[in-house]
């Protein structure tokens, strides 16, 4: 990888992140738009959870991640603290991989 190529990729990645905060920077969104912008995180995070739990490149797989995230969902539902949720998922996934 050459340095100019690397820096160009970094610039493009920055542009992806910054386009909205910089172009809309001074604009104060009306309440309704603000609600909608905040809500936008919800479907994207849900999609991310699905891909990180079941995705493997362009395949869907059921492996140790699915029960781990299942356990995390139950823990969140039982109002467990953040650290407990995340560590539980790691323990379940590592445990399943240890015995399989």
């Amino acid at each position: 990888m050459t340095w100019p190529f690397l820096l160009a990729m970094c610039a493009a990645a920055y542009a992806q992140k910054a386009i909205a905060p910089i172009l809309l920077g001074a604009w104060e969104p009306p309440h309704r738009v603000r609600t909608l912008l905040h809500l936008l995180a919800v479907p994207v995070l849900a999609g991310l959870i699905v891909v990180q739990t079941l995705g493997d490149g362009r395949e869907l797989v059921l492996d140790a991640r699915a029960p781990a995230v299942g356990a995390a969902i139950i823990a969140v539902w039982l109002r467990a603290p953040f650290l407990v949720v995340v560590l539980l998922a790691a323990v379940v996934a590592a445990g399943i991989r240890l015995v399989t």
Binding site: L6, Q16, K17, L36, L40, A41
Partner: protein, 238 residues
């Protein structure tokens, strides 16, 4: 100490201690986990033929893990630079959606700081910020997560690039399951918004349906469209 002088007694004075906001431990946990993945990234990047400086530059300046792993994986497998760049940018495209999410948060800081803070717009910062019910906590949550995560990710990358992958595959320790679990915990409080459950289900289903048929990066990006489900839910209620 002479007689009559008041002894230095211990007075139970209430000192108002500056307490850490509740998002700080969350930001810290997310950052440390990401930092361990940074070790993997550094090792993988060097194995793919990048110099140590290049591996560190990618983590410092590109700072979006999915894109970095994708670019390095393509190059390590002997793929073309065009494929590496395409995959990296497809995976980074969802950061544009996060940019929109963070507009109301980042508009509160001066423009020069906003230009720098925009570099921190990624999955984790958006998720921790959006998980704060109290709007006034979102900027702090965003910045704490962003700065700690940037530091951990870059330290991890440097360590991995210098020392190689001493920890082995992070999947052995279940680290790959920690990310979706963290996002579940961060998404949960957001589901109280009207229409959010519909949007989450729709977003999840869109991603699920697209994984086998669309290029990497597209499934999560397209889950943005789940927002329309929220609007439909609003209308049916109204």
């Amino acid at each position: 100490m002479g007689e009559g002088e008041p002894a230095l007694a211990w007075h139970p004075v209430r000192v108002s201690r500056p307490t850490l906001p509740s998002y700080v431990p969350t930001a810290f946990a997310v950052s440390v986990t990401t930092g361990i993945y940074g070790i993997s990234f550094g090792a993988l990047a060097v194995a793919a033929g990048l110099s140590i400086g290049q591996a560190c530059a990618l983590s410092a300046l590109m700072f979006t893990g999915g894109s970095q792993f994708a670019a390095v994986a393509v190059i390590g497998a002997g793929g073309s630079l065009a494929t590496a760049a395409t995959n990296a940018l497809l995976l980074g495209a969802r950061n544009t959606a996060y940019g929109f999410v963070n507009v109301p948060i980042l508009r509160r800081i001066p423009v020069l700081q906003r230009v720098i803070a925009a570099h921190l717009v990624i999955d984790e910062t958006t998720a921790v910020a959006a998980a704060q019910d109290d709007e006034s906590h979102r900027l702090g949550a965003f910045l704490w997560t962003g700065i700690m995560l940037w530091a951990c990710w870059n330290l991890g990358t440097l360590g991995g690039a210098l020392a190689g992958d001493q920890l082995g595959n992070p999947e052995r320790w279940g680290l790959d399951a920690m990310f979706p679990a963290a996002f579940v915990a961060l998404l949960a409080p957001q589901l109280r918004q009207p229409g959010a459950i519909a949007a989450a289900i729709a977003g999840g289903c869109i991603a699920l349906a697209l994984v086998p048929i669309a290029p990497v990066g597209i499934p999560v990006l397209a889950s943005v469209l789940g927002l329309f489900a929220a609007r439909a839910a609003w209308r049916s209620r109204a």
